[in-house]
């Protein structure tokens, strides 16, 4: 049964697993870059969902369903932009402190 038909849910489960893995990274990592890695995993989780939904939809007039794929392409762009800015910020902090341990970003408090 396990090896039987691979359906939408299987892909969604993979996505969920990726998402949770990303969350674990986000929650447990002290290194800012490692947190970014977690974020990328979460984005990919969403992307798998989107592409999977496309695949499991009825085609009309023999045209491929690409709504989700288009979304994914934009997400790729956004992820890149986000990663660039985030890294720039992290490096900036690293520049002034020589550390990127997020637990030490604590000058801002009441």
């Amino acid at each position: 049964m396990l090896l039987a038909a691979v359906g939408l849910n299987h892909y969604l489960l993979v996505g969920a697993a990726l998402f949770c893995a990303g969350l674990v990274a986000v929650m447990s990592r002290r290194n800012a870059v490692a947190i970014l890695i977690g974020i990328e995993l979460m984005l990919n989780a969403a992307n798998i969902n989107l592409v999977a939904f496309d695949h499991f939809r009825a085609q009309i007039d023999g045209q491929p369903v690409i709504d989700g794929q288009l979304f994914v392409l934009f997400v790729l762009v956004i992820a890149a932009a986000e990663a660039a800015v985030a890294l720039a910020l992290i490096l900036n902090v690293f520049d002034t402190r020589d550390r990127i341990d997020v637990d030490e970003l604590d000058t801002l408090k009441g």
């Binding site: 986000v26 929650m27 990592r29 947190i35 970003l105 604590d106 801002l108 408090k109 009441g110």
Partner: protein, 658 residues
């Protein structure tokens, strides 16, 4: 006299002392001789008018009743209009004369007695206001109006008792007097509330009519009556509210004569006399019983007092008790007549004691006196007349007539009350003789006091003589001529009617009269024997009687009792409430505030630090936990992320489980 004239006279009676007060209070210091002539003139005018009114009342006889007004004062609801107005009847007329006459004499007496006092002028001003207030009280045709006079009287009493307010004792006495009478006033307020609500008006006529019609529900009528008596008991120093009067002797002696002997304390009696038609039989019983008990207890206490004024004070309390006894047993005439006669002879004795005190340079302790008769003959002789009167020496003194009337009344209603009254009469005669003997007879016990003693000036002796004369003549004269009219306009309550008939039956009935005479004379003789002739021989009796004497001398520990039961607890309660207010009521508010802030600390934990917030929240009790929580030190990205994501997961989990 036409009604208009009478009305004018009433206004003059009222206006003269008020005007006197206003002028004296504002300008007194600048007037010649401190303004005493002005005030004497004012009260004199009042006196003259009062006499005219009294004459008119005499002409009118028992049916004489006049009402002026009522004028609308305030409308408190559409059905209830409160008025002011003046009532004139026999009772009022008598009271007017008593008040103005005694007041006039006291004014005269004070010009000498208060001479040299730095607040000489002020004293007269307050005497004026007092007279005014008392006259308001007496002339009122409604309860509210009466209550206003009543309260003003209280104020003046406060001011006059505490006249020498640099010293603590007069201050405390004044305060005690005011507050004690105010406790009594609660009863009056209660009565006012009940009657105001049920009748919608405070006019006596209306109240009596409503009471007779049964408009006022039975328990409330009873309560109103008791309330009125409570007020009367406060003002007239009846048990258990009598404690203020002896202390009030801290005031200048003329004040004691005017207020605490002749007039203000009589206001309670007047009130009960005035309101008699609405009092239910139950109330009457209470009044009679309290009166009798007071007569006896005060008499006992008076026996062991050594301060001349205090003896007189307790005697006053005791005599007031007689008056209530009289009213309570339905001897309405006798009770009020005793009020009148007592006013004169007690004023006489107070002024006499004032004369003694003046003559002895403000020495009040009888143990330091003795043999003063030779030094101050007029004072002594007039005082003796007073003593005889209060003891009820038959036929020649006024006290005989009034007291006899009361006792006969009591005899007909309740033998027990009669015997108590009779015992009181013996006591009265006895301690009065003790007072007289200790002061005026025998050997001088304190050479210094005796050597410097002197007879008082004319301004003091003349009032004494006048009062002594009145004491002698008023009884025989008035009893037959000045018939006090019973309250008009109402059918007397059933019991009231019975009582009246009883009184008529027993009036001057031989037995009672002779018993009263025997009590009076016996008491006097006993006193003479004990304190004059056989003093040394009786010293042997002193030891076994010591506990009794102790109880008398300590006034049955009423003051101590009140201090322990009422005053201290009240202050303690005040302090407790203060703490309650600051700690609990306000504390709760602050706690809410602080709780908010603390919650804020926790909810914004990363701002102040979870450690700080938590630690503060649990009251620094777990400071050591800081080490554990320091891992969660503030400002950390990951912590925030964990909380946020954790909350997200939790939300999903909850949604899922639900």
């Amino acid at each position: 006299m036409s009604d208009a004239t009478l009305q004018t006279l009433c206004f003059v009676v009222l206006a003269a002392p008020l005007l006197g007060f206003a002028l004296q209070y504002t300008l007194g210091r600048r007037l010649a001789k401190g303004g005493d002539l002005l005030t004497i003139g004012a009260i004199g005018a009042s006196l003259v008018c009062s006499l005219l009114i009294a004459y008119e009342a005499l002409q009118g006889g028992a049916e004489f009743t006049k009402t002026f007004g009522p004028w609308t004062w305030l409308q408190v609801s559409e059905t209830s209009t409160w008025t002011i107005g003046i009532t004139l009847d026999g009772l009022t007329a008598v009271m007017l004369v008593v008040v103005t006459l005694v007041s006039f004499l006291v004014h005269v007496f004070s010009t000498a007695y208060m001479k040299g006092d730095p607040k000489y002028g002020l004293f007269f001003a307050w005497l004026q206001l007092f007279s005014f207030s008392m006259l308001v009280l007496v002339l009122a045709n409604n309860l509210l109006h009466l209550f206003m006079g009543w309260e003003l009287v209280g104020l003046c009493s406060y001011k006059l008792i505490g006249f020498w307010s640099e010293k603590p004792a007069p201050c405390n006495a004044a305060r005690k007097a005011f507050i004690t009478t105010r406790i009594g006033d609660l009863g009056m307020m209660l009565a006012i509330c009940i009657l105001g609500g049920a009748v919608g008006s405070f006019e006596f006529e209306a109240i009596f009519a409503a009471a007779a019609r049964g408009d006022i529900a039975e328990p409330w009528l009873l309560l109103a009556g008791l309330g009125l008596f409570m007020a009367a008991a406060g003002k007239s120093a009846q048990l258990p509210l009598h404690v203020w009067l002896p202390d009030a002797m801290e005031g200048p002696t003329p004040v004691s004569a005017l207020i605490h002997a002749a007039t203000m304390v009589a206001a309670g009696v007047y009130l009960i006399g005035r309101m008699a038609p609405m009092l239910t039989p139950d109330v009457m019983v209470v009044i009679a019983t309290v009166g009798a008990m007071t007569a006896l207890v005060a008499g006992l206490i008076a026996m062991a007092q050594n301060d001349i004024k205090r003896v007189l004070a307790y005697s006053t309390v005791s005599q007031l008790g007689y008056m209530f006894l009289g009213l309570g047993v339905g001897a309405w005439h006798a009770g009020l007549f005793h009020l009148t006669t007592h006013a004169f002879f007690k004023a006489l004795m107070f002024l006499g004691s004032g004369s003694v005190i003046h003559g002895c340079h403000h020495e009040q302790d009888m143990r330091k006196m003795g043999g003063l008769r030779k030094k101050m003959p007029i004072t002594a002789w007039t005082f003796l007349i007073g003593v005889l009167a209060i003891a009820g020496v038959p036929w020649i003194t006024s006290g005989f007539y009034s007291k006899d009337g009361i006792l006969s009344g009591a005899y007909g209603v309740n033998p027990l009350l009669f015997w108590i009254g009779l015992g009181g009469a013996v006591l009265t005669a006895f301690y009065m003789m003790r007072l007289y003997v200790m002061t005026f007879e025998g050997e001088p016990r304190d050479a210094q006091v005796h050597d410097h003693a002197h007879e008082s000036p004319k301004a003091m002796t003349v009032p004494l003589i006048v009062l002594a004369a009145l004491t002698l003549i008023i009884g025989p004269l008035a009893w037959h001529t000045l018939m006090l009219a019973p309250p008009t306009g109402v059918e007397p309550a059933a019991l009231w009617a019975t009582l009246q008939s009883l009184e008529a039956e027993h009036h001057h009935a031989g037995t009672v009269m002779w018993m009263a005479i025997a009590a009076g004379i016996g008491g006097l003789l006993l006193g003479w024997l004990v304190f004059h002739t056989r003093r040394e021989k009786l010293a042997a009796l002193k030891a076994p009687l010591a506990p009794l004497e102790n109880a008398f001398a300590n006034k049955f520990w009423f003051d101590e009792l009140y201090d322990a039961v009422l005053i201290r607890p009240a202050y303690a309660l005040g302090r407790a409430f203060k703490v309650l207010d600051e700690r609990v009521v306000d504390g709760l508010v602050n706690l809410v505030g602080r709780g908010g802030v603390t919650t804020g600390d926790v909810s914004g934990a990363h701002d102040r630090g979870v450690v700080d917030g938590l630690v503060r929240a649990i009251g620094h009790a777990c400071q050591r936990l800081g080490g554990v929580f320091s891992a969660l030190q503030s400002g950390r990205v990951r912590l925030y992320l964990s909380i946020s994501v954790g909350a997200l997961a939790l939300a999903l989990l909850l949604e899922h489980l639900l």
